[in-house]
């Protein structure tokens, strides 16, 4: 097994190098055969990495403990789905998973762009860039962090998975997040191809926009799932701790969001060409940085960084790709002039610029806060902790401004807005927000930050609903369809635009959920003997001792509690046989649309129904809105991507958008 896997990886490394050389040499000497050979090599890389991944999966499935990775991350007691999830739960395996998904994405790109067309000129460079990334990953996997390292004397059983990773959320969150980080490689490859070939107009964006959207939604969901996992498993009552590992996964997503917005400036107005290239580069660099931090934990301290085996390689790779990209970028910069001028500050163009400023401002603040402890340690040998209060205070106002802009920007016309236009578009949403705020005030919302947060959300909600209602009304008048059908066909015919609005609604839900749960969380702790109760926010929680069950490989102790005299809720602690010192938490959760009752079992004294238990009880308002927002985010993106859905080479190359098609009809 070990040898087979190792051969596949090393073979993939060699073929990736071959593909790079062939693709570039093929363009240089104008030899079509050579570039084709490079593409075939890329297909072969996909095959070999798939073979390596399947080898590891089989080794896990048959409990082949002669592989160190299998021994370290799985055990015989684990259920099969968990054993397979062990594939991406360690450093080497998750790097292999990263390389595997990248090879699959490369194959998809090659397949979708196989037909002749203007984009073909980009393809050799796209292949070369993707294979550079692939070569780097296979280099790590083959020679530095191999998942196929053999143990001389295979032990009888494995160590097993870290207890924190036993949750169902863990089976889906890491693969999503890693795939999300990986997938920015594709639009980045197109950007580099555009720079290398000098095809700097809309071509590369037209071809890669969908790939960027896919990367965006995968990474976005990866982050939401991470929050969901933290909420259910870590048991501290929250879902986002501004931890370095969370921050590095959020940053490329934010830059990607800025990119998805600002490419519209280039598509519609021929502006910001250089800026878009720079943005996608930054998104890619941050994704590589993120993969590296997630997989090595270097941000804990400079010393951990030096000890990490893959650290220096990642840093070298990052330096090389940044250097190379910058060189290409400045070489082409004179050709990246804007086609148009700006007509007015009250315009869509100006709001996109401010959007980008805010997004990058947030990213910079997060980046700075994340690496500052390292900087302080290296420069002044001082220990500085940068915790959630910093991120909330710095990113909070910028995020608020961004929400406001989310209401204003989409309603701004291109070029220039007139006073009538502004009145016509903003009167109703502003009035709606004022009325809504008055109602919230009557309901007892007094916190100024909650007022600002909810007020902004209401205003943006008004602008979006207004767009849907006006569109449906206009369509009803024009075609006589009933209102619901009109709404449906409105979305179907303008899916890119209305899909975007649905995504904005999703962000509003997440935003409102965050405001509600951050400001109105209530918490208490209590130690309860059987029959005793504690009351929080209208919930009376009564204790009835504990129940302990021994399952294969794990002992589960549940606190038996009842809520308001009837409903039973059972928070638990799980003690895995292989990790007795690391009990994991299973939160007792009772979720309603407006608030969650969230109970964490602490300690207990005694046993059975007579035991007294200590519990931490939280009431978290609006948290379920965040998860609903995640689902809506996916839905909106799918709607937005649906259109002339057949993502074939021919369709994609038809430049830009249906907007341009409409102009000729």
């Amino acid at each position: 097994m070990a040898t087979l896997g190792q051969i596949c990886i090393v073979g993939a490394f060699g073929l990736a190098l071959y593909a790079i050389v062939c693709s570039i040499a093929g363009v240089r000497v104008r030899n079509r055969e050579l570039t084709l050979s490079g593409q075939h090599a890329a297909w072969a890389v996909t095959g070999l990495i798939t073979a390596a991944s399947v080898t590891l999966l089989v080794a896990l499935a048959v409990h082949d403990f002669s592989l160190r990775y299998v021994w370290e991350h799985s055990s015989r007691a684990m259920s099969m789905d968990l054993v397979l999830a062990a594939f991406y739960s360690g450093q080497q395996g998750s790097l292999l998973y990263w390389a595997w998904t990248l090879s699959i994405f490369s194959a998809i790109v090659l397949w979708q762009q196989r037909r002749p067309g203007p984009h073909r000129v980009l393809m050799p460079y796209v292949v070369a860039v993707l294979m550079v990334v692939e070569a780097f990953m296979t280099l790590l996997l083959g020679f530095i962090a191999s998942p196929f390292e053999a143990l001389p004397r295979p032990p009888a059983d494995g160590v097993g998975l870290n207890p924190l990773l036993y949750d169902p959320g863990m089976r889906i969150h890491p693969p999503m997040l890693l795939a999300g980080l990986m997938s920015w490689s594709v639009p980045f490859a197109f950007a580099i191809a555009a720079l290398a070939t000098g095809q700097l107009d809309n071509l590369w964006i037209a071809v890669s926009r969908r790939y960027a959207m896919v990367a965006w939604v995968i990474l976005g969901l990866g982050n939401v799932l991470g929050a969901w996992w933290a909420y259910h498993v870590l048991g501290w009552g929250g879902y986002w701790g501004w931890d370095p590992v969370e921050n590095v996964a959020l940053m490329p997503w934010l830059v990607g969001t800025a990119f998805i917005h600002s490419i519209q400036m280039q598509e519609r107005r021929g502006m910001l060409k250089a800026w878009n290239l720079a943005l996608i580069m930054v998104a890619f660099f941050l994704s590589i940085f993120g993969t590296f931090v997630v997989r090595s934990g270097i941000l804990a301290s400079v010393h951990a960084f030096a000890l990490s085996a893959i650290g220096p390689y990642f840093l070298t790779f990052l330096a090389l790709i940044i250097g190379g990209s910058l060189w290409l970028f400045f070489w082409r910069l004179p050709h990246l002039r804007s086609d148009n001028q700006l007509d007015s500050l009250l315009s869509r163009e100006a709001s996109f610029l401010i959007n980008n400023l805010l997004f990058l401002g947030i990213v910079f603040a997060i980046f700075w806060g994340t690496i500052y402890p390292l900087v302080a340690e290296a420069v002044a040998n001082a220990k500085v902790s940068v915790g959630p209060p910093y991120f909330k205070q710095v990113a909070g106002p910028l995020l608020g401004a961004l929400i406001l802009l989310m209401g204003i920007g989409p309603l701004m016309p291109w070029r220039r807005a007139s006073r009538e236009h502004l009145l016509n578009n903003f009167l109703i949403p502003v009035a709606g927000a004022v009325i809504g705020l008055a109602l919230l005030l009557a309901e007892g919302i007094r916190d100024p930050f909650a007022g600002i947060g909810f007020g902004l959300c209401l205003f943006v909600l008004g602008t979006i609903l207004q767009e849907f209602v006006r569109g449906a009304l206009a369509r009803h008048r024009a075609t006589g369809e009933n209102y619901l059908v009109a709404l449906g066909s409105l979305i179907r015919r303008n899916n890119r635009r209305y899909g975007g609005y649905i995504v904005h609604l999703a962000i509003l839900l997440i935003g409102a959920g965050a405001v509600g749960s951050q400001i109105y969380q209530q918490q208490t702790q209590a130690t309860l003997a059987p029959g005793e109760s504690v009351t929080l926010a209208g919930y009376t929680v009564t204790a009835h001792g504990i129940e302990t069950t021994q399952l294969p490989g794990v002992k589960v102790t549940e606190g038996v509690l009842s809520v308001n005299g009837s409903e039973e809720i059972r928070p638990a602690r799980q003690f895995f046989d292989n990790f007795p010192q690391q009990p994991s938490t299973r939160v007792g959760l009772r979720s309603t649309p407006f608030e969650d009752l969230y109970i964490v079992l602490g300690n207990w004294q005694g046993d059975g129904p007579t035991a007294s238990v200590s519990v931490a009880i939280f009431v978290n308002p609006l948290v379920s809105w965040i998860w609903t927002g995640g689902v809506l985010l996916l839905f909106g993106t799918v709607v937005s991507l649906w259109p002339a859905t057949v993502v074939s080479g021919r369709r994609v190359t038809a430049p830009i958008s249906r907007g341009a098609v409409g102009a000729t009809s």
């Binding site: 501290w236 929250g238 931890d243 370095p244 519609r268 804990a300 148009n340 001028q341 700006l342 007509d343 500050l345 100006a350 610029l353 400023l357 990058l360 401002g361 910079f364 603040a365 700075w368 806060g369 500052y372 302080a376 002044a380 001082a382 220990k383 500085v384 902790s385 940068v386 915790g387 959630p388 910093y390 205070q393 910028l398 569109g471 206009a474 369509r475 024009a478 075609t479 066909s489 015919r493 303008n494 918490q523 208490t524 702790q525 209590a526 130690t527 309860l528 003997a529 005793e532 109760s533 504690v534 007294s612 200590s614 009880i617 249906r658 341009a660 098609v661 409409g662 102009a663 009809s665």
Partner: protein, 155 residues
């Protein structure tokens, strides 16, 4: 002094009676302070949320001091005195920690300046003619926008 002893005795009494249900303002205060302190032995967890023994001890120290009537700031200052500024989750706006606060301010200010310069250059750049030309036809941008609306409203 007598107050302190009484408070300590009270605390001991409370600790000795774990079966006594308690959920009061004191819990909220302990949590408020513990949230501002970084657990010294964990990665990225506050004293309020960390399950480690040290964090638990620190929470009881906070509780004792609160019962003794110390104000929040004094309790925080005492922790800073023994552990250094690194114990605070919110980096203080002084010394080396000041840099973390200044960074984003400078960054966003420079960004805003850049956008401002960009906007003013663009507005001065010679561009295409004004929207409506002499013969009454619309310029390409406006035609495109019109086309989009026509399509949207199904005409």
């Amino acid at each position: 002094m007598i107050l302190r002893v009484a408070a300590a005795l009270g605390l001991i009494a409370v600790l000795l009676m774990p079966s006594l249900a308690r959920a009061d303002a004191l819990d909220t205060s302990v949590r408020r302070i513990a949230l501002q302190l970084q657990c010294p032995v964990c990665e990225g967890e506050t004293v309020a949320d960390s399950p480690s023994g040290l964090a638990g001890d620190m929470r009881s120290v906070i509780r004792t001091k609160l019962i003794a009537g110390e104000p929040d700031q004094q309790i925080l200052d005492e922790f800073v005195a023994s552990y250094g500024d690194g114990i605070l989750t919110e980096p203080p706006k002084r010394g080396i920690s000041l840099g973390v606060w200044l960074g984003p301010v400078i960054g966003v200010a420079l960004g805003a300046l850049l956008v401002g310069v960009l906007l003013s250059t663009w507005r001065r750049m010679p561009g295409r003619p004004a929207p409506a030309t002499a013969d009454g036809t619309l310029d390409p941008d406006a035609t495109e926008e019109l086309g989009r609306f026509r399509e949207e409203f199904g005409r």
